[in-house]
C-alpha cells in the first residue's frame, strides 16, 4: 500500500493488533499517543493506561507477566518512553517471561511535545538493542501483514519479544482513556477476579 511507504498509520496498526481480542490478553500502555491508540481501538477493563511514570511501561508489563504467566501481556508504548527505561530491557531479558510482548510504536519523534526528533529518529534501533540483550525474538514491522503476524504471535507465549512498529509521524485526534489510576487499577483487578479494597 502506498501510504505505508512512510510508515504505518498508528491507529490502523493498533486496531489490527487488538482485533478479535482474547480475554487472555492483558494490555499496558505507555503515556501519550500509544494510550490514545489503544483507547481508540476499544476500551477494555484489561487495559492499564499509564498517564505518567515515563519509562515505566515495560516494567509494569514485566510484573504483570510474572504474576499472570498463563495470560499474554502486551505493552504498547512509544519509542521515547521505551528509551527512557532502556535498562528495563536488560531486566526483562534476564527474567525471560515467555508471555510478554513489547510493541514499540516508533515514529522517531516526540509526538506529544511538538515532534522533536527522538533517538530512534537519529539512528537507534530498539529491536537490535533488545536482540543484543537476549530477547527470544525481535522484529521491525513496516506493513499491516507484519502487524497481523504479530497479532497471531501474541497468543503463542513463545518467549519474550519486542516488535518495533514503524509508524508515520503524525498526531491523530486524541481519544482519551480514563485518568483515574485507582479506577483503572480496580477495574483491571476485578476483571481478573481479584478483590478490590
Amino acid at each position: 500500500m502506498g501510504e505505508e511507504m512512510n510508515g504505518l498509520d498508528r491507529r490502523d496498526a493498533v486496531a489490527r493488533l487488538l482485533a478479535r481480542r482474547s480475554l487472555d490478553l492483558l494490555v499496558v500502555t505507555g503515556l501519550g499517543s500509544p494510550a490514545y491508540d489503544v483507547m481508540a481501538a476499544g476500551d477494555d477493563d484489561r487495559n492499564f493506561y499509564l498517564w505518567g511514570a515515563m519509562g515505566g511501561a515495560a516494567m509494569v508489563g514485566l510484573g504483570l507477566a510474572k504474576a499472570q504467566p498463563q495470560k499474554s501481556v502486551l505493552v504498547v508504548t512509544g519509542d521515547a518512553e521505551a528509551m527512557m527505561g532502556l535498562g528495563a530491557f536488560a531486566t526483562i531479558a534476564v527474567q525471560k517471561p515467555a508471555n510478554l510482548t513489547i510493541a514499540v510504536l516508533d515514529n522517531g519523534h516526540y509526538g506529544e511535545t511538538g515532534m522533536q526528533a527522538s533517538h530512534t529518529g537519529m539512528g537507534i534501533e530498539l529491536d537490535r538493542v533488545a536482540a543484543s540483550m537476549g530477547f527470544a525474538w525481535t522484529e521491525s514491522i513496516s506493513d499491516l501483514s507484519g502487524v497481523d503476524a504479530l497479532h497471531n504471535r501474541l497468543a503463542a507465549r513463545e518467549g519474550v519479544g519486542l516488535a518495533v512498529l514503524k509508524i508515520r509521524a503524525e498526531n491523530p485526534p486524541r481519544v482519551l482513556p480514563p485518568r483515574d489510576g485507582a479506577h483503572l487499577k480496580n477495574r483491571f483487578r476485578a476483571a481478573l477476579g481479584f478483590p478490590v479494597s
Binding site: A65, T91, L184, K185
Partner: protein, 179 residues
C-alpha cells in the same frame, strides 16, 4: 563489609525476609546493597519468590505495580541513594493508590565515610514524604521486625506506599580499610 551483630550474625537481616514471607510477598525486586545481602540471598533461594534484579530502583516501582495488577504482592529492597532515582516513578503508586513496600538501607546517615552519599542520604526521608510515601526509621535491631510488619500491613491492607528506612547505625559502620 558491614559489621556483624556479634553472636547473632543474621538478626534483623533475617527478620526482613521473614516479615516479607509472612505477608505473602511473592516478588522481591532489588538493587543490591550489603545491608540487604541476606534478604536477597534468601529471596533468590526461595522457589516461591520471584527475585528480580533491577538496573535502577525506579524499575521496581513499575514492576510491583504490575505484579499487583496481576494479584500478587511484592517488595522493593534498595539503598537510600536509589530513592532519588524513584522520584517521578512514585507518581504511579500515588496516582493509582497501589500498595508499595520498600526497605531502604541508609547511607549518608551516620558515620558515613563517603561524602558523596550525604546529599541523598540526608534527603531520603523528606523526598519519600514529598512523593506521598509513609516512612518509619529503624535504628535498633529489635525495631526492624515490628516496623516492617506495620509498613507491610498499611501497604497491603490500605493501598499505601510505605518505606522502612534501615539506619546506618543499625547496619554498622562500613570498614573501608582492612584492619
Amino acid at each position: 563489609m558491614s559489621e556483624a551483630e556479634g553472636d547473632q550474625p543474621m538478626g534483623w537481616r533475617a527478620d526482613v525476609f521473614s516479615v516479607l514471607k509472612r505477608h505473602d510477598v511473592r516478588h522481591v525486586a532489588y538493587v543490591p546493597d550489603a545491608g540487604h545481602a541476606a534478604a536477597i540471598e534468601m529471596a533468590v533461594a526461595d522457589p516461591d519468590i520471584n527475585a528480580v534484579a533491577l538496573t535502577t530502583e525506579e524499575e521496581g516501582i513499575g514492576y510491583l505495580a504490575g505484579a499487583w495488577l496481576g494479584g500478587e504482592r511484592g517488595a522493593l529492597l534498595m539503598q537510600s541513594s536509589g530513592v532519588g532515582n524513584c522520584i517521578n516513578m512514585l507518581a504511579l503508586p500515588n496516582a493509582g493508590r497501589f500498595p508499595l513496600l520498600m526497605a531502604v538501607t541508609m547511607r549518608g546517615d551516620w558515620a558515613e565515610f563517603n561524602p558523596w552519599q550525604n546529599p541523598m542520604g540526608q534527603a531520603t526521608e523528606k523526598a519519600l514524604n514529598m512523593m506521598g510515601v509513609l516512612t518509619w526509621r529503624a535504628d535498633r535491631a529489635e525495631d526492624v521486625e515490628p516496623l516492617l510488619h506495620g509498613a507491610a500491613s498499611m501497604a497491603f491492607n490500605g493501598d499505601c506506599a510505605c518505606a522502612v528506612l534501615l539506619g546506618q547505625r543499625l547496619i554498622g559502620e562500613k570498614q573501608w580499610v582492612k584492619k
